[in-house]
Symmetry: C2
Subunit: 161 residues, 2 copies
């Protein structure tokens, strides 16, 4: 048996597999330790694998992040393509940054858009990431990307006999 | 403006929207506070909203759960249908339970299947859950299910003007 797992150290890989418009389930941890997720649309991503979202300061998410800035982003793309990004959040309020990432379509999430006094950019700085993809030939999900983690054992790694 | 959010107390609702075979991104928390997710296939769900998965005791997931049994399950279904389940895990080793949920297809995750001495069922007992669904008429994502949580403010709630 051979465990197929390719470790890459190239953080720009994340930029290749996540697109603006992709929806992440963003997981935060409440003061009571409860893990909750909610859909968030990706509005930007850079070479370092940092991912940006718009939200408002009064959201439940921002209350939870006050106590704990560590989050997970889960992306489920078409046909069994799964990405986990572990990261740390940072709040960006600078108007020029907000304008740079803004698209009028986001008013569905943010009432009054850029005029909303509570609007912020949430930057998730990459700590570690993993990517699993469906292998149509073998009908197995294969983990083929992992970065920033020393942990290697996962039941969903592809195991070839 | 009217915030559309329907609170239901019927836990069996979860059984109606999650199917056996649906893949969850299961989020756990490491000792260092890092939140990680991995794809896990749903192998069972009951009337109480408890959801079952197969895994092995030596998995990274099980190591993380030793220190903290609280997890989140994120389901991303077709066409912008998102479910967050917060729960607490429990390990089930009883052979009759394993046999009841088993399908030979799961050998892709569990080498040697039911003969693997390390195989277990992971039961996630529902603590709270939320469901967002795409509203095609308004092109908005609308949260229309929430259970077990007193928190109500979320940027991704539907806001009608």
């Amino acid at each position: 048996m051979e465990i197929e797992k390719i470790i890459k150290r190239d953080v720009s890989y994340i930029q290749k597999i996540i697109d603006i418009g992709d929806v992440a389930m963003l997981v935060s941890r409440s003061d009571y330790g409860v893990l909750k997720s909610r859909p968030m649309e990706t509005v930007g991503i850079n070479n370092d694998g940092d991912i940006y979202f718009f939200t408002i300061l009064s959201s439940e998410l921002m209350r939870e992040l006050t106590g704990n800035s560590q989050v997970n982003l889960s992306f489920t793309k078409e046909d069994h393509d799964y990405i986990s990004v572990s990261g740390v959040t940072q709040v960006i309020k600078k108007k020029t940054d907000l304008v740079r990432f803004w698209n009028s379509r986001y008013e569905q999430w943010i009432p009054d858009g850029l005029d909303n006094p509570s609007i912020i950019l949430l930057k998730v700085s990459l700590v570690s990431a993993e990517h699993w993809r469906h292998n149509t030939g073998l009908n197995r999900i294969r983990q083929f990307f992992s970065i920033g983690s020393s942990e290697t054992n996962n039941v969903h790694e592809s195991i070839e006999s």
